[in-house]
Symmetry: C2
Subunit: 452 residues, 2 copies
């Protein structure tokens, strides 16, 4: 029979079993942290009606969408998790208790030209808090605190969450009389990290803005320092524009509450160059960079929006959300050698019967250990002992139990510690407790998933 070559599409990430174990640990830390803040998971369909999912989309996004017909129905695969959230909340607004906290860690689809770091199928890990009519700005402090917790629990320490407020920007450009040009100006400043401030200046000059205003823009964008000094410098500008003042108050409230919410001041900064796209966000915005990998861009971003679902409902649904681009983040960590795949194993214990006479005993012992919450694999193939141990080595299991006729008759097991190479005989009654103690010790020394 002629064979079909087994392969997957380019731009799709598929992992080895060991990589998958690490990926899942990261995903599970993100999910359990989100849950610890009272977020409930949503699981929306991958396929939706195009008329619903594309109510807002347009331009670049729409071109990338996997869209097709099945029968008479015009379908597309979700390209983000925000539009499905908007649809969900609008659809079920009468059954939902607001503020509504949801998380969703799921794959989204974009038929982009594949290139390094761009995937056509990728996980996003989103949290959003949605209010009905109003939502306290204090939530703008809690949401980055959640992301701070996620990153710390993954083992990262050298990172900063940068925040800004779109109202401050809006007020500043109104004050300069550049409200109409502000979208173009912000798009240039958004690139400051990549192109440098000198090139930002050149770009602004190309826009034929007056030199004094360019200077003001550049010195405004360059304001930096710790939280208190940035706020002080912004106050000192004496800009009376209501948007500016409102944004400044919010910035102050949020920055103060962030500390209360547990983010060390060493880990966040106000940065007036953070703009986060153009039309969706209306207040606080965030980006997060690893200090040693600025070139990765933001690994976790988000912000405040006034109206989640205006395409579906008249009800005003303000919200605040952040998102981790998990697939891309994992890919970058892997390439940077920050993940340890070799230490992975699918089981804590491998139970090996010496021959067919002891397979029943092996199955019984394995079941006893599982009742004590251990992860236990059996090796039931008829093979030479040496090959069984080769298997144990390949799957990197820390303990092997060897069960021969002698062991069965005496109701003991031979335990081999694969790291030290030592082995000892333990009574069948005591083996679960023995192994649990060994693993409890190891758990105390447990290492973070990511090595920084």
């Amino acid at each position: 029979m002629s064979k079909v070559t087994p392969k997957i599409l380019t731009g799709f990430m598929e992992l080895t079993p060991n990589e998958q174990l690490v990926f899942d640990k990261i995903k599970s830390i993100i999910a359990s942290t989100y849950e610890s803040f009272g977020f409930v998971k949503l699981d929306t369909p991958v396929l939706e009606l195009s008329q619903v999912l594309l109510a807002k989309a347009g331009g670049e996004t729409e071109k990338q969408i996997y869209r097709f017909n099945k029968g008479d129905t015009d379908l597309c695969m979700r390209f983000d998790l925000t539009v499905p959230l908007a649809r969900y909340v609008a659809q079920r607004q009468n059954d939902i208790t607001f503020p509504f906290r949801r998380y969703q860690i799921a794959k989204v689809y974009r038929g982009e030209r594949p290139q390094k770091g761009r995937f056509r199928e990728f996980y996003q890990a989103d949290i959003d808090i949605i209010g009905s009519e109003k939502l306290s700005v204090l939530y703008d402090a809690e949401v980055p605190a959640i992301m701070y917790n996620v990153l710390r629990k993954l083992g990262l320490n050298r990172f900063h969450i940068y925040m800004n407020n779109r109202k401050v920007l809006k007020g500043f450009y109104k004050y300069l009389g550049l409200e109409e040009q502000s979208a173009d100006i912000l798009r240039i400043i958004d690139k400051a990290d990549k192109i440098g401030m000198d090139n930002v200046k050149l770009c602004l000059e190309e826009m034929t803005l007056p030199a004094d205003k360019i200077e003001k823009i550049l010195s405004f964008s360059a304001i930096e320092g710790d939280k208190a000094s940035v706020l002080e410098k912004l106050n000192a500008l004496n800009i009376a524009e209501p948007d500016f003042q409102e944004g400044l108050t919010e910035l102050q409230t949020v920055a103060t509450a962030m500390e209360k919410a547990g983010i060390q001041e060493t880990h966040y900064k106000i940065d007036l160059k953070i703009t986060r796209g153009l039309d969706y966000y209306t207040g606080t915005v965030y980006e997060t960079f690893l200090d040693d990998y600025r070139s990765w861009g933001s690994i976790c971003s988000g912000g405040r929006y006034d109206n989640l679902a205006e395409f579906y409902t008249d009800r005003k649904l303000p919200g605040i959300g952040m998102s981790i681009g998990l697939t891309r983040f994992f890919d970058l960590l892997r390439d940077a050698g920050m993940l340890n795949f070799d230490a992975q194993t699918p089981a804590q214990v491998l139970v090996i019967p010496m021959d067919t006479d002891t397979t029943g005993y092996a199955l019984e012992i394995a079941e006893t250990l599982r009742k004590a919450d251990l992860k236990v694999m059996t090796y039931l193939n008829d093979a030479k002992f040496k090959n069984k141990m080769v298997y144990a080595n390949k799957i990197n299991v820390p303990y092997v139990l060897i069960l021969g006729t002698d062991e069965m008759q005496n109701q003991v097991v031979t335990v081999k510690d694969m790291l030290s190479g030592t082995q000892e005989s333990i009574s069948a009654d005591a083996i679960a407790e023995h192994l649990k103690e060994a693993f409890a010790k190891q758990a105390e020394q447990a290492q973070f998933v990511i090595k920084q």
Copy 2:
């Protein structure tokens, strides 16, 4: 602005937050049980190349597939998890350690005509053990033991795993000289549960089989009793056909090992009417029925196959697998009133600051409790106290912490037990320990997810 009606496609299941919490508990029990047997998760792409995914498919399945072009590429959405597994194992056969144990709990897609109990997007929860060249028949006992554990952990007790062996059937029909007709005969017997044995007889008569052979088929299919007596009756048939004898030996080995693997004999039966489709399975086959809901059909099925990936590789890859149709199972349990959605809550504790002065204190207390592994939500909106308590009631949270200026000044919290309605004042230092003890007590009385 004119609004788009927010809705999803028919045939797609989307849950309320409370339903989602229950669904996830079930999914998580399945996953952790699979993992306790040393299975590693795979996460294959939802989209694959049609030429790869459809190497084998045809007929009914192919008509249901979501297939489309993007650019020059002919794509389809996966319609099961077995074909992607075959592709994965064939593609990575040199990097995989055999026997390879993988699980995958993921959505698959079939554009079927939507009807009650049929979904177009649904979760399957699959386990498979794949050998290279050979795989001991003892694994055929371990795999149903895993499913037995899953069902027991979900809270089910009134169910049976029914098993059979395709070699026994093949040998029996060879012995009757009906090998050619056996596929048609088995298709009729497969329906015995729905149409009854009298109708099976009528169908066999319509095939114009000789009356004496029909009698033999019916009395063979009707063999029942406990494991020992069924095996004895099969032995007593004295059928020398090698397939029959080989199958009978396997049936004996597997049935004996199933008990060792921890399945109570009250929970499995040999049933010669179980056939499991026609061409894929080659040895042991299983179906699982809830005793009180036979009409649901099998909730968990599978079996042994000789060759997982023959469309992709010459290497012989025998395997054994079972699968739970999770979405359909959940839907049936929900309709039968066996799931309790009312008791769900997104958090264990809701922290309510009385006014803006105490929001900082609330954020700090919440963070302290999370460090003690509690799930803690804050309520930060400016609202009347009554409305805050309405929120607490709606989300069904068991404990509310009320933090006013007095509490902050004295570094205490007022804890309200929402079930009993009592409240007490506890020192901020002691509150984490106090709540952990309360939840530890509740955990001892924890109930199963499914009420039978």
